[in-house]
């Protein structure tokens, strides 16, 4: 402290004191009003760098959480659709089981068929669910309906036009979760096992593998019957065999001692007398139900065991027929409309008719329901046991599809849970970062208010003492 002060410097000191305290008060007031302790980089360079880095990390975390939120919403919408689909399928299964009951009349079955048709339409609209203009079950081809009825030959089959690509969102560092579900996985998962036959005609799988999806009807046509040696016991074909349906070599056995006649391994029938009613058109069936019409009017009464042969042809598309060779073990047939290539073993074929070939594990839920409707309407007019062969195949496929819907629902749930877990962890990080950011950048209000009050008081003191100082002058006493 200098020993002497000048008048000017005392004024200057008072002024400086006021200025310093006013600045301090202004700073404190600024912090109180903004709630921030760092308002510009120069306030606290280390704090600024820290707060920038924290803001950046916080923005990243919030970005992830935003993505998680949208992602979960999308997953949940998918789950809702699949949940409804699952409920519909449960209902369809019950309806179909009713329909399988042999006592039901055609009208009752038609009613069930109509209900299943409606269910199929509903399922289609669920599988083509749109959220914000995008189809959520189409993979990344989200701008067109993924499931469309589309087959070259007009057969009502639904094909998947989407893809299996995943739309992923990043919900945490390096954690990407798919938020869409391939429609193929949910409604038509491809897990081909075997090629199944309804068992009407005795057709079986060939040697070479089959390629394709869905199901086909194979038309096995009876063209003619070769009577073999039946004339030796005075028998003849009715109408030249035009109404027969047997195919391949069938052994006809007539046992006059036991009084039976038997075709292949079919039920033995009582031998009719030549004069019996109906002897002119006696119908006998083999184990597959293939029919052979015989004229017993000229029957000699002798025993007989010989081969009767049904010649026929086969078609996969209902228009192009290929003659059947009954020694063929790997017959290749290709349906150009569906692209399916199938291989058959024709050695056990014994009956003409429309055979259902099921590429099991590849029939999507819509085609399965379509098949059910076709079965219930029974356009081929099959008898009940034959129909059940088809219906069993449908039921297996329905259950598989139902399982897939459930599985997909589970996958969506698991993903949603995964997002939630990531989000919860990030919520913690979010809070922590916000806390850190607040510690770095935000003013400690109580502290700042205390500072402000202190600055205010100091300013008042400075004003008071300053006024005192500059008011005292020797002049006051020089009178």
């Amino acid at each position: 402290m200098p020993l002497r002060t000048s008048t000017e410097s005392s004024y200057a000191r008072v002024l400086a004191g006021l200025r310093v305290n006013q600045v301090r008060l202004f700073r404190a007031q600024e912090q109180v009003s903004t709630g921030r302790s760092i308002l510009r980089p120069s306030d606290d360079p280390i704090g600024t760098a820290r707060s920038l880095s924290l803001t950046r990390r916080l923005a990243g975390v919030e970005r992830y959480r935003g993505a998680a939120e949208t992602g979960r919403a999308s997953l949940d919408q998918g789950a809702v659709a699949l949940q409804s689909a699952s409920e519909i399928l449960t209902e369809v299964r019950e309806l179909f089981l009713q329909g399988m009951n042999g006592t039901l009349g055609p009208d009752d079955r038609e009613a069930i068929a109509t209900e299943i048709e409606v269910a199929r339409e509903t399922l289609m609209s669920l599988a083509n669910t749109r959220v914000d203009d995008r189809y959520i079950f189409g993979g990344t081809l989200s701008d067109a309906a993924p499931w469309v009825e589309n087959r070259a030959d007009g057969v009502p089959r639904v094909l998947y036009g989407g893809n299996d690509d995943e739309q992923r969102v990043e919900v945490s560092d390096g954690v990407e979760v798919a938020i869409n579900m391939s429609g193929a996985k949910a409604f038509g998962q491809f897990e081909r096992t075997v090629t199944d036959f309804a068992g009407l005609t005795g057709l079986a799988s060939g040697i070479t593998a089959d390629e394709g999806i869905g199901y086909e009807y194979l038309e096995l046509r009876h063209d003619s019957t070769q009577p073999g040696l039946i004339a030796s016991v005075g028998l003849a074909l009715v109408d030249g065999g035009a109404n027969d349906s047997l195919l391949g070599d069938q052994v006809l056995t007539i046992d006059p001692v036991a009084g039976t006649v038997q075709l292949g391994s079919g039920e033995p029938e009582p031998l009719p007398g030549p004069a019996d009613a109906g002897a002119a058109d006696f119908l006998i069936r083999n184990e597959l139900g293939a029919e052979l019409h015989l004229d017993f009017t000229g029957y000699t009464g002798g025993a007989f065991s010989g081969v009767v042969r049904g010649e026929g042809s086969i078609s996969i598309d209902g228009s192009t027929f290929t003659p059947l060779t009954f020694t063929e073990t790997d017959l290749e047939l290709k349906n150009e409309a569906s692209g399916n290539i199938l291989h058959f073993d024709a050695t056990a074929v014994g009956r003409a008719g429309r055979e259902l070939v099921h590429l099991s594990g590849s029939v999507n839920v819509f085609d399965t329901l379509q098949g059910m409707v076709e079965d219930l309407r029974n356009a081929d007019e099959l008898n009940h046991p034959d129909l059940l062969g088809r219906m069993d195949l449908r039921l297996g496929e329905l259950d598989r599809n139902h399982d897939n819907v459930g599985l997909s629902l589970g996958i969506l749930g698991a993903r949603s849970a995964r997002i939630q877990a990531a989000d919860q962890r990030l919520a913690g990080v979010d809070l922590q970062l916000q806390g850190l950011l607040s510690d770095t950048r935000d003013a400690d209000l109580s502290e700042v208010v205390v500072d402000m009050v202190r600055a205010e008081q100091t300013l008042q003191l400075a004003q008071a003492s300053g006024t005192r100082l500059i008011q005292t002058s020797l002049l006051d006493f020089l009178r």
Binding site: P2, E8, R13, P41, A49, G60, T140, Q167, L474
Partner: protein
């Protein structure tokens, strides 16, 4: 008696002078630069009156300024420092406000906003509003860069203008000092102390020092010589004026009359302004420029290989122009690496995919680019050589790419979904393939075939002239020779090269398509000797190969798919398809024999899935197909350099902008690798940039780099503020010291006033007494 009267008079006068001096002091108590003046008094020489020495009263010797010259010099020095810091701070504070960080409109926040908008779009890439959001965010970020950049330019200009003003002020102050020098010298030569003039000169010098750090030397005649960085500014006779000139870098520098070169001034406000224009602004501008440049580079690198959700391109125009650097009127002969493009083209490969819109077939073409050899013309030619694509330069030197009708193109690293279109892998054509080349063929070697089997034999010769090196003939070269052979054409025999292997195929498909390998001297070189004499026939079913997924591995590779034996897909026990990478390492072995359902997807690894349709595979006939996989389809950065399919245009903070046509149509923002609406893989790649360390920024992320810039800037600003504060305190205490020496204390003067008033009264009384004595004496007379 007269002595006594004189003594009284001098006493009276002294008191009067003292009162006048203190009156002057009181009057100037508030005058800046005023130094308190003091009347020096002393006893008058005594009078010797006949041996008696009698005091002769008081005398005034001088009126003196009370100054501490050393202290004044220290103050002047500190004033120069303060001047410098203050002017530096002005520039910095302005920049601080310009950056606008911490209040949500700074580059850091806007960069975060851009990433956030990309993330939002990635959750719903079909949404056009979210897509506009990305465009808006990119626009906001680039505008902020632009506005800071232009703010910097303005600040630079304002600082230069202020520098001119300050220099002018210095010159005026220098003239004042020169004038005062002359007056002081004149006054002091006459023996008069020029106290007030000196005060004024000191004040002028202090003001000058606030502007530029100067030193003062007082010469013997009392004149002050002022030096700036060792150069005379004010001599006893003249002023050497300061001036401003630009150096080679365009930065303003100081000159002084009569001296060569620039005057290195660091102190005073001029020193501060020079620092602001030549160091501070350029430094922070260049850091922002680097950030903007690397941002453009990194975003465009990713974006250029993407596909908008509307699908691949029918045409594209680059946003950067090629410049005729050698000024020969031709643009095509410029090297890509030296054609005025803003970003470096490096050695690497560019992959262009051509998509057939009808069939969905993707054909990928690879163009090698060498930074030292490839010219603009070479690139255009290579691009135009790609079927269904043409490339040329616009009149402005921008590259234009156009696809033929029915075709589109892109630069995506997507996988070819149908890699077996040539039918070299269980196809319907009769087909036979070799191992990987090159092949050693004797000059004039022949390949003898009969096509169809049982038909007319033909012989295809190979001559040295058709090959670069016939001892290392490539599959492509051999295929070209075969396809040019008219006999082969007539017989319907084609050759194809797949991944270095040569394939001979019939044109037709099915069991009736056939040819026989008869022999010929080329057979051994092609490694087909074992097949001599065998007949190759086509198949009823062509094995359909479908690839899906996206490559997750690093770098570039080619996956070769070959069967391990002859057999039928899904039927033959033990049939496998082995997958090898380009170095021959086995990547996967896929069971496709008995138990495999045709068309079932199998995982190859690295994110790739493959399925095989029904058909016959033959290891004996060399069946294979190849899939090239890439993680980056432009390793040369040529797309970035040409500004093709970019997101940002520009090269730095001043000109960074959202690509013009994206601004009007956000649908051009690339979101996918495939062009399907829900594919968001490109957006995820863009998002990866938030955590990617950027080589050009010293291997930190974009956000970190900006944070570092702000951090360093904040440090500098706060340390300048701190220095200014402590300097202010120092200056204040020095000032107080000065005031304690030179300042006027009115109270003190008042006390003196009372003192000298009383002295005056006493002297008057004394004179009156002496006068009374005289009167008494006179009355005696």
């Amino acid at each position: 008696m007269s002595i006594a009267l004189n003594t009284g008079l001098r006493s009276l006068l002294t008191a009067q002078f003292a009162l006048e001096t203190l009156g002057h002091n009181i009057a100037n108590a508030n005058t800046p630069g005023y130094s308190r003046q003091k009347l020096n008094i002393a006893t008058e020489m005594p009078v010797n009156l006949r041996g008696l020495v009698i005091g002769n009263g008081v005398k005034t010797t001088s009126v003196e300024r009370t100054v501490d010259a050393l202290l004044n010099r220290r103050i002047v020095r500190q004033v120069a420092v303060t001047g410098r810091l203050e002017s530096q701070l002005t520039g910095m504070t302005e920049v601080e406000a310009m950056l606008g960080e911490l209040d949500g409109r700074g580059i850091g926040s806007l960069l975060d906003d851009l990433f956030t908008s990309v993330s939002e779009l990635s959750t719903n890439p079909e949404d056009s509003i979210l897509r506009s959001g990305v465009g808006q965010a990119a626009l906001a970020l680039s505008s902020q860069f632009n506005s800071i950049s232009s703010g910097m330019t303005n600040l630079q200009r304002d600082t230069a203008a202020e520098l001119d003003t300050r220099v002018e002020e210095v010159n005026l102050l220098a003239s004042d000092i020169l004038e005062l020098n002359e007056e002081i010298a004149r006054a002091e030569a006459a023996g008069v102390a020029a106290n007030d003039l000196r005060d004024r000169r000191e004040l002028a010098f202090e003001e000058l020092s606030r502007r530029v750090d100067a030193t003062a030397v007082e010469e013997s005649n009392g004149a002050m010589r002022v030096l700036v960085a060792g150069n005379t500014l004010v001599s006893s006779s003249r002023v050497y004026e300061l001036g401003v000139a630009e150096d080679v870098g365009g930065d303003p520098r100081l000159t002084i009359e009569g001296a060569k070169g620039f005057v290195p001034v660091t102190g005073g406000s001029i020193g501060g302004l020079l620092d602001t224009t030549s160091r501070f602004i350029p430094q922070i501008s260049s850091e922002l420029d680097d950030l903007a440049r690397n941002l453009i580079l990194e975003f465009n690198r990713v974006h250029s290989t993407g596909v908008p959700s509307s699908g691949s391109f029918h045409s594209l125009t680059g946003s950067e122009s090629v410049v005729d650097l050698d000024q020969d009127g031709k643009l095509e002969d410029e090297l890509l690496a030296n054609s005025g493009l803003p970003f470096e083209v490096t050695n690497g490969e560019l992959r262009v995919s051509i998509n057939d819109e009808e069939t969905g077939k993707v054909t990928r073409h690879t163009i090698s680019i060498s930074s030292t050899h490839t010219t603009v013309g070479d690139l255009l030619e290579s691009l135009s050589d790609i079927p269904h694509l043409s490339a040329d330069l616009s009149p402005f030197g921008r590259i234009q790419l156009v696809a033929d009708g029915g075709y589109t193109f892109d630069f995506s690293p997507k996988l070819d979904p149908n890699p077996n279109d040539a039918g070299t892998f269980g196809g319907g054509k009769a087909s036979v393939g070799t191992a990987q080349g090159p092949f050693q063929l004797p000059d004039g070697a022949t390949l003898n075939l009969t096509a169809p089997a049982g038909g007319t034999p033909l012989s295809i010769p190979f001559f040295e002239a058709d090959f670069e090196d016939i001892n290392a003939a490539t599959a492509d070269e051999i295929a070209a020779v075969i396809n040019a052979n008219t006999d082969a054409q007539t017989a319907g025999i084609n050759a194809t090269a797949i991944d270095g292997s040569l394939f001979l195929q019939t044109a037709g498909e099915g069991p009736t398509a056939s040819f026989t390998i008869d022999g010929g001297s080329a057979l051994g070189g092609l490694g087909l000797g074992a097949l001599a004499g065998s007949t190759i026939t086509g198949h009823e079913n062509s094995v359909g190969v479908a690839i899906s997924g996206s490559y997750q591995g690093d770098g570039t590779d080619v996956f070769r798919f070959v069967p391990n034996m002859d057999g039928v897909v899904g039927t033959t026990p033990g049939l496998q398809v082995d997958v090898f990478d380009a170095s021959g390492n086995q990547v996967a072995s896929l069971d496709v024999g008995e138990g495999y359902t045709p068309d079932e997807k199998l995982s190859v690894g690295q994110g790739i899935e493959v399925s095989f349709g029904l058909g016959e595979l033959s290891a004996t006939h060399g069946d294979l197909f190849a899939v090239d996989v890439v993680d980056d389809s432009d390793t040369s950065d040529v797309l970035v350099a040409l500004g093709v399919n970019s997101l940002f245009t520009g090269t730095g903070a001043a000109d960074i902008a959202l690509r013009e046509d994206i601004e009007t149509d956000p649908g051009l923002i690339a979101t996918s690798l495939t062009g399907t609406s829900g594919d968001n893989r490109l957006l995820l790649d863009l998002l990866d940039l938030q955590n990617a360390s950027v080589e050009g920024l010293g291997s930190v992320t974009l956000g970190q780099s900006y944070g570092d810039t702000i951090g360093e800037f904040g440090f500098e600003l706060s340390s300048t503020l701190g220095a200014l504060e402590s300097n202010g305190a120092l200056l204040a205490s020095l000032d107080q010291l000065k005031q304690s020496v030179s300042g006027v204390n009115v109270d003190e003067e008042l006390v003196d006033m009372v003192r000298f008033e009383q002295a005056f009264q006493a002297a008057s009384q004394y004179i009156s007494v002496v006068n009374g004595l005289q009167d008494d004496l006179l009355s005696i007379l």
